[in-house]
Symmetry: C2
């Protein structure tokens, strides 16, 4: 394995005075570069999903404050602080639920305050340095997950994934896809079967695109085909991401993940969940403590203006589901692979 | 239960000199009547999916020959036979794989030949009578399935179904949905959860529409949501149709059915398969003998012009899957409910 894993798809990059994003709004057809020169540019990019995925949003928001620090003409700390807080408020309201967004903004503001006595120039440097540190941390976490999961993806492995927990959701090589990219970088033959992931099609639109760009063979299937693919011996292991993991190992992820987990166990296939330690919620004892967002019915009724169901059809549209810990073979984290009993291995990793 | 079950959605109806279809091409938005006055009208309606579902196609083709017999100006049997055979050839080539299509055409042609010595007038009457008999037989089979399955759908039942094996696939009240319509007619509260059924969305487009038209509460979900719905206690039983059933009870149905069966067993839910005896294939000892059609990748890559995946993405698109008999609680047929051991109950039903 090379000392630094190759990263073909770059979700974002700091360009000295502006943030360059890979614009995800036109996927699966193309992802042209999008240069954000102002705080409002960054806010609009987050709001309209040009950049998405909780880790990537956090990194983009951090650079948004770096732009705000540059934009500000304040000559003293109180003025600069006011401008930074105004910018943070604008960025914070760009998406309602992403935890990383507020966390990244608070981290950058704290770094600014820590050096405030040094004056505006020092603050501006600290803000950019902190944004870059958040970026580097995220890349390092992805890479650590990839290295930890490498041995789980042997030569010739055919991996099923659901939704997108790939490079395009992070600043690095992703979470669920990190072990795939690591195996690919190690010269192993690895192929991915990507669930299209209705209703929002993150698998078909995003996962398929980024794997193809990175040279990893990928085949798209409809969500209802995964069980049949397992039955026909087309899958060796499952790798998915997680939105929140409870202390006992129950975890929430994109709707449809639970069905994949049940099918994997039926077929005796390993089912791995890849996520950084920051995804574990020690305050949630089990899956029952994880709230599940239900989203607008129109996401199911139609796709980009094309009607799929009668316009007045009743629809149930939960965005996530909870998979009990007993279906999980192991968690692949930036602190290594955690195996059952998960209550103990998770507590040990979080306490470390 | 009323002596004849109400049939709100009428897929087709003979109008004295023409075949009236409920045009399914604009579903889920509307299904206006379509009058077929010529053999070519019927052929075009079958070819373009204005009418679909193997039983409904067979009934439509039978009436197509009744129209051919009327259209023919032949004054003797050889001339009329030639016109009927020409029409049968046109109708037979309208869809490549529907078994009922060829079977219905052969049945009507045989009825014509049986009365040929009586002259053209008698032949024309026999052709129409046989088409009407095929229609009546299909309606009777659906109704028998409904009555047989009535006791499996108790008051308050919440039924999950996959794809469309409803009224719009037959001349009657459907197969998988027949017990639902029977329970509804019996005054029981019954509600349906309909998998949207990617890639062609028969659940969202067709099942949701016909149930709503018939006054049965229906909620559409994406295919990946069924497992979570079971986990949350939103489903009491599963009812699906079948395209072919092997002698041991393994059966083929729309892709995604197998995943639903595995999930139903995980949750201890009854899993019923409704189909007429004509769907059982005594020559197929088990599921391995059932060939599975793989369809065009573009069905998955895009839906009605909306791109879902990169245009050059690799796609696997099996149209059906095979569910092993061990997942089936019972088969609901026009000859009653068949329970395990299926080798014996199926042989007894087919031998009767």
């Amino acid at each position: 394995l090379p000392p630094e894993l190759p990263r073909v798809v770059r979700t974002l990059a700091w360009r000295g005075d502006a943030l360059e994003l890979l614009d995800q709004r036109r996927l699966p057809l193309e992802a042209p570069p999008l240069l954000c020169r102002s705080v409002e540019d960054v806010r609009e990019a987050i709001r309209t999903l040009a950049v998405r995925g909780a880790p990537a949003i956090g990194v983009a928001a951090g650079y948004g404050l770096a732009i705000a620090a540059r934009e500000s003409s304040a000559a003293d700390w109180p003025g600069l602080e006011r401008d930074l807080e105004t910018a943070a408020g604008r960025l914070r309201s760009s998406r309602p639920t992403a935890v990383n967004l507020g966390w990244a903004l608070d981290r950058v503001l704290a770094a600014a305050r820590a050096v405030a006595p040094g004056g505006p120039k020092e603050v501006r440097a600290a803000v950019l340095a902190e944004a870059e540190a958040i970026d580097a941390d995220d890349r390092a976490r992805c890479e650590a997950i990839g290295r930890a999961g490498l041995d789980l993806v042997p030569d010739g492995a055919r991996v099923l994934t659901h939704c997108n927990a790939g490079a395009l959701a992070t600043a690095g090589i992703g979470t669920a896809l990190a072990p795939v990219y690591a195996a690919h970088a190690a010269g192993r033959e690895v192929a991915v079967l990507a669930d299209e992931t209705r209703p929002l099609l993150q698998g078909a639109r995003i996962t398929a695109w980024e794997l193809a760009e990175s040279g990893v063979p990928v085949t798209v299937i409809c969500d209802g085909m995964a069980g049949y693919a397992m039955q026909r011996g087309k899958i060796d292991l499952v790798l998915v991401g997680a939105d929140r993991i409870a202390a006992n190992g129950d975890f929430a992820n994109k709707i449809g993940t639970y069905a994949v987990a049940v099918l994997a166990r039926e077929h005796g296939l390993p089912f791995y969940v890849a996520a950084p330690l920051s995804t574990f919620d020690a305050n949630a004892p089990d899956g029952a403590a994880i709230p599940i967002e239900e989203r607008d019915a129109d996401e199911v009724r139609a796709s980009r203006g094309v009607p799929f169901a009668p316009p007045d059809a009743d629809v149930w549209n939960p965005a996530f589901d909870v998979t009990p810990a007993r279906f999980v073979t192991a968690f692949v984290t930036d602190a290594g692979v955690l195996r059952p009993p998960f209550g103990e291995s998770i507590a040990a990793a979080l306490g470390a």
